[in-house]
Assembly symmetry: C2
Homo-oligomer: 204 residues x 2
Amino acid sequence: MPGHHPARGRRAAERKGDVRERAILDTCEALLEQKGYDAMTVGDIAQGAGITRGALYFYYGSKQEVVTALVARTVEHLWERSRATAQTDEPRQAITAAMRRTVELWNEHGLVMRTAIDLSLTVPEIGELWNHTADLFITAITAVLERAGIQAGTAPDQASAMARALCWMIERTFYHASQESREKLQDASATCEHIWLTSAGLIT
Amino acid sequence: MPGHHPARGRRAAERKGDVRERAILDTCEALLEQKGYDAMTVGDIAQGAGITRGALYFYYGSKQEVVTALVARTVEHLWERSRATAQTDEPRQAITAAMRRTVELWNEHGLVMRTAIDLSLTVPEIGELWNHTADLFITAITAVLERAGIQAGTAPDQASAMARALCWMIERTFYHASQESREKLQDASATCEHIWLTSAGLIT
DNA sequence: AGGAAAAGTCTACACGATGTCGATTTTTAC
DNA sequence: GTAAAAATCGACATCGTGTAGACTTTTCCT
């Protein structure tokens, strides 16, 4: 709750640094698209954001920190969207809805999501961010499977373990498809949905 | 067929460089395990192999080339093993056999396989190597699915597309599990096998 | 054996990217 | 309007990379 007395039409002060921070992250995202992580240099990012290297280090301690912040910003989006999604009782509908939402996510944020996956090993912070995101998905899938009649539990053929495998299937399939085209993503989604439905026992 | 006249007990000459090359690759693999790709420096590899940086550049043009060679050596193994596997007619048996073989592969070469996956984007040569390997698996899975009665074709619910998704599921699931322990790998295998069987229509 | 060519090795160098420091300027808040 | 905080800059030290040229060892042929 910032701004204790909203009188005087002046909007809450926004630090100049906040704008720069956003500019840096935006530039980083653009460069990631153009040249990829390795080729992208700290100098490039600074230049794109309209400052020098030295100034950039005032905001972030390294290239990895910049990218971590970018991933965090994007992943925040996913969590919000995830929370806002209405729960459906009917498993078939739930699965279809989940897959449609996933396609949207990858269409909008495919680049950053792929980057997050790629850097999960080398940058522990990003790894944690992505793991947490995956856990949200796995929990959701587990719930759907159980509602579809799959036995709850962690044994290899029970809901929890299956959900994990299905999550990785979706991650990897979308990862590859999103590098190609929107059409491929759509196809990939249909295939994943089919396997998910089958695994849930909802298809012959 | 080297050595045109096997007389004289002298074994076929092995270039000194061949030994070094192997030492370099072995060292690289060890360091990959100890410090990971990023932390590992060309100097480290050279030192481990008993030569200086300068000498190493005589064999490989860069760190990436060294790792590419390591991946190539490992992947060669996979292909051989893949070729040597007897084909089973009964789908259920084929799936079980394939999963058992996959567990073995990841137990033996997990580290290099994970590295190959990680570097697939940044090092095109490794990407090709790994893609080709994946294609072998996808083809094999497709064949099994078709023999189990899944309709052939590339539509989202037909054998080819399903095989691709299942392949990525296995890759990613094993990738994560092989970082943990052999037990996890075994569990992961059981889960993947179950989903594969279900997708093939071989389980209620 | 012996000597030239090929294979292997080393040290030194140039380059590019990183991250740090202290000085300086701009913003913010009172 | 001014002092503290925020932001920016340029210069520097460091480290890893890749290249070049000189030198040594191995291989192979006669």
